[in-house]
């Protein structure tokens, strides 16, 4: 498999007045096409920071990030915006849907950035909505009229409408109850099976189970790396391996 994203000697330092906080310290990481990478770590360990750096939402203090052969760490803000537009999709803990637009338009806003063909995008949006298990009824509803899980699934559709090369997700089910969590995770797993590269941050073992590679973040570097096979539900051996790995990491 080809390496799609490669971070080398990544550093991120936040300076608050006099205090300097080194969140990422010479971190190295590779992501291959088709991976479902799960980044784990304690709260405050810098998982989100890493995800934002990888996805071009924020620039690292030092180090390089390569998308294939393209060095993106020194891009200007607008160049980064275009990069994100063309290659990345995002799902956040909160769904950040725009309350003043209906479901379809929330997705279209994103889709129209890349393509001008309204009909095609609308059709694709509808198809994707169906794929994540949302029926026609929701098209013209407003976000506030949906359940949390439905909202998050809309957010996923918005994230993948432009067929991003990598889908980034930052604790995508943090705000959901367990039933909705399962739904959303199933959607992600399905996407990955269809070839979507996913990078997901979580500190929840139920989510971590879904990935095929687990990276453990501690003290600003990746301290552990676990290879799991493709996800099969109710796989006891897989669950145990993950448990053991996390225990070893001191989780």
């Amino acid at each position: 498999m080809k390496t799609i994203l490669k971070a080398k000697d990544l550093c991120k330092t936040f300076s608050n007045e006099s205090v300097q906080q080194h969140v990422l310290k010479n971190l190295n990481l590779e992501i291959e096409e088709g991976d479902f990478v799960v980044i784990m770590g304690n709260s405050g360990s810098g998982k989100s920071t890493l995800l934002y750096a990888l996805s071009g939402m924020d620039r690292p203090t030092l180090g390089s990030i390569k998308y294939f052969d393209e060095e993106i760490s020194d891009y200007s803000n607008d160049k980064l915006a275009v990069f994100r537009r063309n290659h990345c999709g995002f799902v956040f803990q909160q769904n950040f849907l725009n309350d003043t637009m209906n479901v379809l338009d929330n997705i279209m806003v994103s889709g129209l950035l890349k393509s001008k063909d309204r009909k095609a995008i609308a059709a694709k949006a509808k198809q994707l909505l169906a794929q994540v298990g949302l029926s026609e009824e929701v098209y013209h509803k407003f976000p506030t009229q949906l359940s949390g899980g439905e909202q998050q699934r809309v957010a996923i559709v918005r994230a993948i409408i432009n067929t991003p090369d990598i889908l980034f997700a930052d604790e995508p089910t943090g705000a959901l109850n367990s039933q909705n969590t399962e739904n959303v995770l199933n959607v992600l797993t399905e996407l990955n099976k269809a070839g979507q590269t996913i990078v997901m941050v979580t500190h929840d073992i139920r989510l971590a189970r879904r990935g095929n590679k687990i990276k453990y973040l501690q003290d600003g570097v990746i301290t552990g790396d676990l290879q799991l096979g493709d996800y099969v539900s109710k796989d006891k051996a897989r669950h145990d391996a993950l448990r053991a790995f996390l225990q070893e990491m001191g989780w």
């Binding site: 275009v82 994100r84 309350d99 338009d105 279209m108 129209l112 309204r118 609308a122």
Partner: protein, 782 residues
């Protein structure tokens, strides 16, 4: 109370820009209201003060000396007369004058003796008896119109004789302060010089000055006593010149331009206040929606809704007080400047002092309306239940409708997104639409007035009802001269006029009217007919609409005109309108005039050229051809009046434009800033999914510009219909029934472009804050 003040103060800190903008708007509105109100209320008072100081006359008559002895008797016998005095004066219908080596101008002058012992309408005491033989006092108006300064050299050319004077000062006589009322300059010179100038060319005349008993109506006195004089003293009626004016009419006519422009300013200030109120609404709604949680906290900790509403009112009270005090301060500081302008409109030096009464009125009024609006629109927010507020649960927008579906629209993305947010805040945008429409409309009307009444005076002169040909002659023996002039190839037509003051009556009602007899009524240019036709036979007359109303007559009725030949009947065949003579007048032909006055000799002659020569060339040509007669530069002469109008219009346009720009600036600034702050999250998200700053700026601008432009266009286009209505409203008191005031398309365009450009530039400037929004910060904020 302090608790309210405390919350209010904290709230204000959180919305500094709102507070600043509102303070700015209130400052502007209060300043304009204060200035206009204090002039409107104080202008007449200032005239009264001068009148009081100089023991001013309530009525006066100027007429030739011969055969007018009887006037003394009539006046002193009149029961209303308290004091009567007769002074000498010299009347020179045409003086060429030059100020400090400047260009030569023509005007009518009356010369008065500064050493005369006058008791009524005294000359300012500092000047009496102090003038040397080379010194002169001019009316203050010439300081404004000709830029005369004390010490300037004034050269007068009186029938070929040149006199050089030094300007010693300005006289302030309310009757002769501005050519709006009496179109001549009254100047004072020493007794010696006065004697020297008394040549046959300068017509020696008397001025009868009358003070009336307390409480007498000067208008009716004028009417009454003129009737008597015209009947009993034929010398006055037949005199080549004579005029009389009463105090009340003079005062209102002189103040008219100042009152009109201040009135317009007051209306505009009100519009501004209305704009402020709309913005206060936005500001409160916006603040409440952003701070729903804080409101919830306050409610939870025991604040009543009354207290919350009270805190908003306290906030606005603070803003209004600060803005109001600054506005009144600025109004007072700019008093000199305003005074200068008013002086140039009324012709007496005008001091705008501190006017506590107006200041109080304006301040109280603004506070009252602001508090009312604040109370009215903060009530719903004060009443929100604690839990709703804490959950930020109340749905203030109506999300039920998805305006402009991105699925089907074919607009560009930025525009579509912009329009979406326009439609989401419909009520707010209606408010803005209203504001911009009003501003744009008033700008266009301002431009229209400027265009029709100041830039090109021909329409104004048509409304005034005075002929402005290329040249004019006054005096005797005009008919032979006219016959010669008519033969000249460069001359298109010559109009002959004879005026007469007549008593006109219909039934019980009667009026003293200046009646115009034209040799060829059909050739008269500035005659604005409303109905009917021109006088063709010697018993036909056209009356002004106002006169018809006063006499209660209409087309086909019979009226009686009384002159030296006795009472003659005329049929009303037409109705016209004009501003001159306060809208009262009659028009007959020469045959009609002969019935009234016997043989008719022309008194005035107006020459219209074929257009081959410009009017200055025409003047030179005529003066060369007929050196013994002096052609009058009528355009220059009418400029003394039209100049005042033009100045008032320019002033008004300037104020409208500046205020419009300021308001558009403030409104756009406030809106965009509020939008950027309120929608930071959405912007962060949009950036995360790959919108560039440029796209977001465009989208933000698009959410405001369409409303602005629409408002500007609606305002400008509707001015096409409304401008004439507004002009008519203003002129109806001067006897105008019908009036067109087209606004030239390019002025509309200028207005639209100006509003658009200002809105665009400010929107662009403000939306650049979006650049600072980083996707990560926005998303991790909570």
């Amino acid at each position: 109370m302090y608790r309210l003040y405390f919350i209010a103060k904290n709230n204000l800190k959180k919305k500094k820009s709102d507070a600043l903008v509102l303070t700015g708007l209130i400052t502007l509105a209060v300043m304009m209201m204060y200035i206009s109100l204090s002039v409107l209320l104080g202008g007449g008072r200032m005239f009264e003060e001068i009148h009081e100081k100089i023991n001013g006359m309530d009525w006066h008559l100027v007429a030739q000396k011969d055969g007018t002895e009887q006037v003394d008797e009539i006046l002193s016998a009149h029961e209303d007369v308290e004091q009567m005095e007769k002074s000498d004066l010299l009347y020179v219908p045409l003086v060429k004058y030059r100020v400090d080596g400047g260009e030569e101008k023509d005007y009518s002058f009356i010369f008065r003796n500064s050493d005369a012992e006058d008791e009524v309408n005294k000359l300012n005491t500092d000047f009496k008896g102090t003038l040397s033989d080379e010194q002169i006092l001019l009316p203050y108006y010439m300081h404004v119109s000709d830029g005369c300064e004390i010490g300037d050299e004034i050269v007068l050319d009186i029938s070929g004789e040149t006199y050089v004077f030094e300007l010693a000062g300005f006289s302030e006589d309310p009757f002769y302060s501005s050519p709006m009322m009496v179109s001549m300059y009254q100047v004072f010179i020493s007794e010696e010089t006065y004697e020297k100038i008394s040549t046959p060319e300068a017509m020696s005349a008397y001025m009868w000055k009358v003070c009336l008993q307390e409480g007498c109506d000067t208008v009716s006195f004028n009417k009454e006593v003129l009737d008597e004089i015209n009947r009993d003293v034929p010398a006055v009626a037949q005199s080549y010149f004579s005029w009389s004016y009463d105090w009340a009419t003079t005062k209102s006519a002189t103040m008219m331009m100042a009152d009109v422009s201040m009135g317009i300013m007051l209306v505009f200030a009100m519009i501004l206040l209305a704009v402020t109120l709309v913005i206060i609404r936005f500001s409160i709604a916006n603040f409440c929606e952003l701070n729903m949680k804080n409101i919830g906290m306050l409610r939870a900790s025991g604040y009543t809704s009354r207290q919350l509403i009270g805190s908003f009112m306290m906030e606005m009270l603070l803003i209004t007080l600060v803005g109001g005090v600054i506005g009144i301060g600025l109004g007072t500081v700019s008093g000199d400047f305003v005074g200068e302008i008013i002086s140039s409109l009324v012709g007496v030096s005008y001091q705008v002092g501190v006017d506590f009464f107006s200041a109080g009125c304006v301040l109280l009024f603004s506070i009252a309306v602001v508090l009312f609006i604040t109370w009215n629109c903060s009530r719903p927010y004060g009443k929100i239940s604690v839990l709703d507020a804490l959950r930020e649960g109340i749905v203030t927008h109506n999300f039920r409708k998805n305006h402009i579906s991105l699925e089907t629209t074919c607009q560009p993305l930025s525009l579509a997104l912009g329009m979406k947010s326009v439609l989401c805040a419909k009520r707010k945008n209606f408010g803005i639409l209203g504001i911009v429409t009003m501003l744009s409309l008033s700008c266009c009307i301002g431009f229209g007035m400027y265009q029709n009444f100041a830039k090109d005076i021909s329409y104004l002169m048509r409304l005034v009802g005075s002929e402005i040909g290329d040249a004019a002659y006054v005096g005797d023996d005009l008919d032979e001269l006219g016959a010669e002039i008519e033969q000249l190839p460069v001359v298109e037509k010559v109009l002959y006029l004879k005026k007469s003051n007549v008593m006109i009556s219909a039934g019980e009602k009667e009026e003293n009217v200046s009646c115009f007899g034209w040799k060829n009524p059909e050739k008269v240019q500035n005659n604005f007919m409303l109905e009917g036709c021109l006088p063709e036979y010697d018993n036909e007359i056209v009356l002004s609409k106002l006169l018809c109303d006063k006499l209660g007559v209409t087309l086909g009725d019979i009226v009686y005109l009384e002159e030296i030949q006795g009472k003659k009947d005329f049929v009303v065949v037409g109705i016209n309108q004009h501003i001159r003579d306060m809208g009262i007048g009659g028009m007959i032909n020469y045959e009609g005039m002969s019935r009234l006055t016997g043989e008719s000799k022309s008194q005035q002659m107006h020459i219209y050229g074929t257009g081959e020569l410009t009017y200055t060339e025409m003047l030179d040509y005529l003066n060369e051809k007929f050196p013994e007669r002096e052609a009058i530069d009528i355009v220059e002469m009418s400029k003394s009046i039209t100049g005042i109008v033009a100045l008032a219009m320019e002033l008004m346009c300037g104020v409208f434009l500046v205020v419009t720009v300021i308001v558009v600036f403030l409104v756009v600034y406030l809106l965009i800033k509020a939008k950027v702050i309120r929608e930071r999250k959405n912007y962060g998200l949009y950036k995360a999914i790959g919108f560039t700053t440029r796209q977001l700026c465009m989208q933000t601008i698009m959410s405001n510009l369409p409303v602005m432009v629409t408002g500007a266009v609606i305002g400008a286009v509707s001015s096409h219909w409304l401008a004439s209505k507004v002009a008519l409203l203003g002129l109806s008191t001067c006897g105008i029934e019908k009036c067109e005031m087209p606004v030239a398309p390019h002025y509309m365009l200028i207005t639209i472009v100006m509003i658009t450009v200002v809105a665009f530039v400010i929107a662009l400037g403000c939306s650049l804050r979006i650049r600072k929004i980083e996707p990560v910060k926005m998303l991790t904020e909570e």
